[in-house]
Amino acid sequence: MTFINYASREINCKIVYYGPGLCGKTTNIQWIFEQANPERKGKLVSLATETDRTLFFDFLPLDMGTVKGFKVRFHLYTVPGQVFYDASRKLILRGCDGVIFVADSQTARMEANIESIANLATNLKENGFDIRTIPYVLQLNKRDMPTAAPVTEMEQLLRFRNEPMIEAVASRGIGVIDTLKATARQILMDLQRG
């Protein structure tokens, strides 16, 4: 749910990073946080366990600049990937404008990727969204791993609506901004359609 404030000429969009445990959702956001211009970024809030696993969510507000005289601000959220945090994941999807699915390229994690997409579809539906129509981008993360599955194979297993598919190594920032940009494009184009 985009919040358009005509008084302060601001527009706020919520983007959620989704995916199985340890696929690199937090790494994506951390990289953006480290690279972003200090004037443009807010504080990175991480609600994590002592072992740095996401417990509830990470949150990063980003000022992107202006479009048509409106300040555009993105609120980036990650969900906890571990299976048993499903109730929390559902809450974080509330009112989101777009979803980035971060898939783990390692062959051994393919089943977890598939399960997580199915879980995303269910949780989106419970929040009144349709996974087939909401702005959505598929990121194939950890492309540098020796056990990474071929892109064509991942595409066959995980891509289901001709969504933008971006190869990434989030720990080195490869593909991170491209992924965010592809999502932003869909959200803003959606707004255009009204």
Binding site: M1, I4, F57, L180, Q192
Partner: protein
């Protein structure tokens, strides 16, 4: 379509701002924030600069959402009030209508009873405005002629520029 954008016009925003400014003075509190259930700040009054408002809005919404989940687990519709007591400052969080959250931060210069009393009155006024905003959004759903989005002519170049390309 589940996605109903929250569109706030100048006049409504001014009214909201007036109500929470009054609430801040009347309740002798330090800061009052009005945030939306999805974690976005709508308006603020008081010593706003002393607090990271964006993080506050997102954490409050997370807190309310988690408490909502707890309420449903035990068969309650919602817990409409949350209170956090600190050594110096206290947080009073209450739900306004379907999508608003009112956050009042106060210290020993006020009291829980006074805050509760003032919040009750302000909530009613805020709710009326929210209902108005919602009604307008619903009556205009699918009818873009009445409400022209500022993004009707957005181009790929506009989006590239946002990312500094």
């Amino acid at each position: 379509m589940a996605k109903l954008d929250l569109v706030m016009f100048e006049e409504e925003y001014k009214q909201l701002q007036e109500i929470i400014s009054r609430l801040q003075t009347d309740s002798s509190s330090k800061v009052v924030f009005l945030v939306d259930k999805n974690g976005q700040q709508i308006a603020a009054a008081g010593e706003v600069r002393s607090i990271d408002a964006t993080s506050l809005a997102s954490l409050t919404a997370g807190n309310v959402a988690a408490t909502d989940g707890l309420a449903k687990l035990i068969g309650e519709k919602e817990f409409s009030l949350l209170f956090h007591e600190g050594e110096k400052d206290n947080l009073h969080i209450s739900i306004v209508g379907k999508r608003g959250i009112l956050v009042v931060i106060f210290d020993q210069n006020s009291s829980l009873a006074l805050v509760r009393l003032r919040v009750k009155k302000a909530s009613r006024e805020l709710q009326e405005i929210f209902e108005h905003v919602e009604q307008r959004a619903q009556s205009q759903g699918g009818d873009n002629a009445k409400f022209e989005s500022p993004f009707t002519e957005i181009t790929d170049e506009d989006i590239d520029r946002l990312f500094g390309d």
